[in-house]
């Protein structure tokens, strides 16, 4: 039985990931759940899964959060470290695959490229507002084609001549795809075309101007798709590695960042899975900005604030979480 565990939470807009590791960095349990617009509920169910998977009575020695919901998540669970996704992914990859020079991460609504050298991030980029190079684009098209998202990759591999699907953004790629469907292209060719379109969009938008050096690590939920993996390999002419915990690398990265924490953790305990959380917005009339200040309370007690521009309320959080 491990002497202590560290938790990493990655709360994204599409999925919520939680990982538990031991002092040596071994993954003890992980959980991947859709966020479905309810991050609090998603965190709670993910933590419930983790608590069930861990041997009873193991002390939690550190907790860290990342993802677009990291501030809220940290208020909910009581995190020791709050980190951005880029640093989280880089940390995880450097621990798991130290030789990697380029990280391609494609998640639900975000995609990133991170360049590494000598164990340091040297450059990075994220997608702009457009969703064409992300997982939700693929999800939507799979749904439209009536193919389960998990079968998409295998189907793409059966293609004989992938069709070219034009369009920078999801909406136009979709209309072009429908057009191709109506002109009688086979399903597998269309799916392979979709994979190529996603890779093309990623390379021309997110990875524009970046010199991609191997070895390349491909992670994020979309890395499960073999079709995309092959498309990347052929477009880059480089070997592309998919790490073992590809779908929870962000959570794993912050879990590693929680490891050096000495002293008492701020973790509220697994009891938060049953806590009654409330988020309440109120207009502040302190100045002309009239920000909507959001107060986050657990079981009726306000734990954190955000949404204020001047920092009158949220300074307390900055103090406590130490970004």
């Amino acid at each position: 039985m491990p002497s202590k565990v560290f938790l990493g939470l990655d709360v994204g807009s599409v999925s919520t990931k939680v990982v538990a590791i031991d002092a040596l960095g071994q993954v003890l349990a992980s959980s991947y759940l859709p966020t479905q617009g309810q991050p609090i509920a998603a965190i709670q169910s993910a933590l419930r899964e983790i608590a069930r998977a861990l041997p009873p009575g193991v002390p939690v020695a550190g907790v860290a959060t990342t993802g677009s919901g990291r501030v809220m998540a940290s208020a909910l669970v009581g995190a020791d470290v709050v980190k951005n996704e880029i640093t989280a992914h880089a940390t995880a990859t450097l621990r798991v695959l130290p030789s990697v020079r380029t990280i391609i991460e494609i998640g639900g609504q975000d995609s990133k490229i991170i360049l590494l050298n000598h164990g340091v991030v040297t450059d990075f980029a994220m997608n702009t507002v457009c969703a064409a190079g992300t997982g939700s684009f693929l999800d939507r098209q799979a749904h439209r084609l009536g193919v389960p998202i998990t079968a998409l990759g295998e189907l793409a591999l059966q293609a004989t001549s992938p069709t070219r699907i034009a369009g920078r953004c999801a909406v136009f790629a979709e209309s072009d795809m429908i057009h191709k469907q109506q002109t009688g292209h086979s399903l597998s060719d269309i799916v392979a075309g979709l994979c190529e379109a996603l890779v093309r969009n990623y390379l021309s938008n997110v990875a524009k101007g970046k010199t991609i050096v191997g070895p390349v690590s491909f992670q994020g939920g979309v890395a499960a798709n073999v079709g995309i993996l092959r498309a990347f390999e052929s477009a880059l002419a480089l070997p592309v590695i998919v790490p073992e915990h590809y779908d929870v690398m962000g959570a794993l990265g912050v879990a590693y960042l929680a490891q050096p924490i000495a002293g008492q953790t701020r973790f509220r305990g697994f009891g938060v899975v049953a806590a009654n959380c409330q988020v309440k917005g109120e207009d502040c009339d302190g100045c002309g900005n009239r920000c909507e200040v959001v107060g986050f309370s657990i079981n009726g007690r306000v734990q954190a604030y955000w949404g204020d521009r001047c920092g009158k309320y949220s300074h307390e959080n900055y103090l406590s979480v130490g970004t």
Binding site: A132, R168, F172, S204, N205
Partner: protein
């Protein structure tokens, strides 16, 4: 010595001048092939994503010429008439090409800046003569002769030929349009680029529609259109578009409708298209803006063109009481 001319950007305006100029000087001059997918893709890879498609295409043409030439002609166009400008991206293009990290031959990139007066031209000619190692006098004389060529070409344009037809003498005899007369406006490198415009001019002509572009209008008509504006427009490219557009809107007998073809992310067009649309709407004049970029698919363009043509025809039949305005924009809704 061989100078390569990219078939992009202001090629569609100044090629006859350059061709004659190099011929008079005894300098070899070759032209890149018409834009194709390979050219567009190689250019798009080499330029920041935020740049517009025409700039990406120009980069592609420079790369396509690279193996064959000693110099590539990429003038730094700042201004071609006093107190007006071309476009910031064209002003920065030579530097963008140099710093792109691509292997390109040296650029023949004289500064063409007449914003403070026509003497700016003298500097451009001096730069060129030094670069090509030709005497200044013969450079000036060649330039003078090539101006005459520009006037000759303008006559052909006014007769209804597109720049490509006028430059290369490929115009074929066409029957006058049976159906309609439509103005296709836009920066020349959008309207005449075969790939970016998806051959919009030929497509319309094939349907029996007479096409007229800003380049085919006498300059007096352009000035007449521009006289509607409170403040003088100070971009040469936009003056052609808006001048022609306003002229047509106010001389409704000239054409039956206006299509404005612009490339996605074009800064100048974002203002000018909106101004023109407001004027057209006030006069209830059929107007459609098509926005294209390197990701555009053909299917969408064809649908919109057909719909517009039918609306214009319907409007003529229905005694001119139908406003064809609506959501005709052909663009990528999701891109910012």
């Amino acid at each position: 010595m061989i100078v390569g001319v990219p078939r992009a950007l202001l090629y569609y305006v100044y090629y006859p001048l350059w061709r004659r100029f190099f011929a008079e000087l005894g300098v070899g001059c070759i032209l890149s092939p018409p834009t194709n997918e390979a050219i567009m893709n190689s250019g798009a890879r080499a330029v920041v994503d935020e740049a517009c498609a025409p700039v990406k295409i120009a980069m592609g043409h420079v790369l396509a010429l690279a193996p064959e030439v000693d110099y590539v002609l990429v003038p730094r166009f700042v201004s071609v008439e006093p107190r007006t400008y071309i476009c910031p991206k064209l002003m920065g293009l030579p530097d963008m090409i140099r710093q792109s990290g691509q292997k390109t031959p040296p650029l023949l990139a004289p500064d063409i800046d007449m914003s403070k007066g026509y003497f700016g031209l003298a500097r451009a000619l001096m730069d060129t003569s030094r670069c090509l190692e030709k005497g200044l006098w013969s450079t000036v004389r060649s330039f003078h002769h090539s101006l005459a060529e520009m006037r000759r070409i303008k006559h052909k344009l006014i007769a209804g030929q597109t720049p490509e037809e006028a430059f290369h003498g490929t115009s074929r005899r066409r029957k006058p349009g049976r159906r309609l007369r439509i103005a296709v406006l836009g920066h020349p490198y959008n309207v005449y680029d075969p790939l970016l415009s998806m051959n919009i001019v030929d497509r319309l002509r094939a349907q029996g529609i007479d096409v007229i572009t800003a380049e085919m209008l006498p300059l007096e008509h352009i000035s007449l259109g521009l006289s509607q504006l409170r403040k003088k427009l100070f971009w040469s490219l936009s003056k052609m578009v808006l001048g022609a557009g306003l002229y047509f809107v106010n001389h409704a007998a000239e054409v039956d409708g206006i299509i404005l073809l612009s490339s996605f992310g074009c800064g100048l067009e974002s203002l000018v298209a909106d101004l023109l649309e407001r004027h057209a709407r006030r006069q209830e004049f059929p107007f459609m803006q098509l926005t294209v970029d390197e990701h555009s698919g053909e299917a969408g363009l064809i649908t919109r063109l057909e719909a517009f043509v039918e609306t214009v025809e319907g409007r003529i039949l229905n005694a001119r009481n139908l406003s064809p305005h609506g959501d005709h924009e052909f663009r990528h809704a999701g891109t910012p």
